[in-house]
Subunit: 299 residues, 2 copies
Amino acid sequence: MKKLNRILAFDVGGTKIAHAIVSREGKIITPVEKAMTPPTAAATEALFRQVIAQYEREIDAVAFSTAGAVDNQNKKIIGGGGNMPIGYMDIDFPALSDKPVFLENDANCAVWAEYKVGNAKGFENIVMLTLGTGVGLGIIVDGVLLKGKSGAAGETHFRVRHGNHRRCACGNYDCMEIYTSGKALNIEAKEVYQDDKVTSYDVIEGMKKGDKRAVHTFENWQNYVADAAVTFADIFDPDIILLGGSMAQFIDYGKVEKEANQKIVVSPFILRQARFENNAGIIGAALRCVWAAEGRQRS
Amino acid sequence: MKKLNRILAFDVGGTKIAHAIVSREGKIITPVEKAMTPPTAAATEALFRQVIAQYEREIDAVAFSTAGAVDNQNKKIIGGGGNMPIGYMDIDFPALSDKPVFLENDANCAVWAEYKVGNAKGFENIVMLTLGTGVGLGIIVDGVLLKGKSGAAGETHFRVRHGNHRRCACGNYDCMEIYTSGKALNIEAKEVYQDDKVTSYDVIEGMKKGDKRAVHTFENWQNYVADAAVTFADIFDPDIILLGGSMAQFIDYGKVEKEANQKIVVSPFILRQARFENNAGIIGAALRCVWAAEGRQRS
């Protein structure tokens, strides 16, 4: 097996595509460059090809952290990625380069980065929730990334509330995602303020100023995040649950950790903010690409 | 490592304690004998000692399938087991015999039995729900039993409904268990019939006769079971979800499998009744005991 030393890693989301060269140890060794996600799959593929052509002589592999579920061979997108351009999931990723091309779901890359070099280092049972526009779920069980039979494991589109209150992007009602995402805080704000123009931004700004209604709104949302922590703690008995993504910085970690640990029936877990905010995808994709190239060993 | 050929296996629940000798292939080779669970831990321990003394010369090991969470060394009970006599979890199981003594949670034994010799044979990603008085959860990920950091993984005491409607045995409100267990069908019946004397037995009898109210009550309950299947499918992307325990026989498998598969965002799963109704614990404890004695290999 060839040892990979320099990996060109992409992080592909519905809004932005970032890339950088990452070392086999997970160090970002060139500035992270960002571009807007093109509106078509063809333009997205062209962007990939252009960046790869630029670096191809100095890299050993190409790794993608991407929205959507990725198969167990890490070659293709098998579902999800609803925010991506139509046709995106049909891109032939392995054909983009003569070097090995590796693909993994972004939430899986994020938890792998935290496990190998971030705030979950030293632990073997880890759950990570990435609280952005949607919610990403990445899980490590005894040092093994949970992928499931097809590679799609780690979805939060299951019911956390009885009745049909909030329609989720997946088409179902009252999924965990529509109560714990950034979008969920937006909805919570409109419900509490009874004002369609209020957004999560107003809640965060109001909370900083100590505004009671803002604090109340945020706490409603944070309670759903705490319920999610209880859910994954009781199912996985993890050492640690990490929260990442744009909303993670606002969480009261001490409070949520304490309250959730009082409710679980397994042994106590640590709740912590993830280390790598914007670069978790790039770092995790590169590290997981190294893992795949070197024999896909169970730890 | 000594090869285990004959394992004395116990299945210890809050109501009954069963035992039999099981072969290394998972065949029950003596009649399954049952006794009422004694009211004290001391009497329970005495029962274990008496049975073990009776068989000790003809067995290679003793295996227990038990209520409660069991540590990763399979030597002691670390939590749960609320229906057991006080002091039960402090019994020194390894001291009960000169032969190797092995302990595992009953829901974990059940899924291991189904994985090795039952209705999940041939699959590597399996979720099994045992729907009895409570709900047991056993999970196999890529052929590995999910235990978590302490051994307690696989609990269903997390919120599936907003607000505080039903108090669960664990002390929290609105856990999955209090909506999907046999006890939950009892509660559902009292709610629908507005009659405190109605039980799940009346619902099942009424359903057999086509009574509309009984059918409606059962379907309410079954919908929660379907939601649970969606939850575990989206988290684990399993090949198969098995339902076991006393309530599993009444489920409409075709309907629930179809409806749940329409809601999930991962790839389709199979829903099936478990094979071993009352003997899953005994068979699984023996087979898992063999696995432990022979090196605890990941498959």
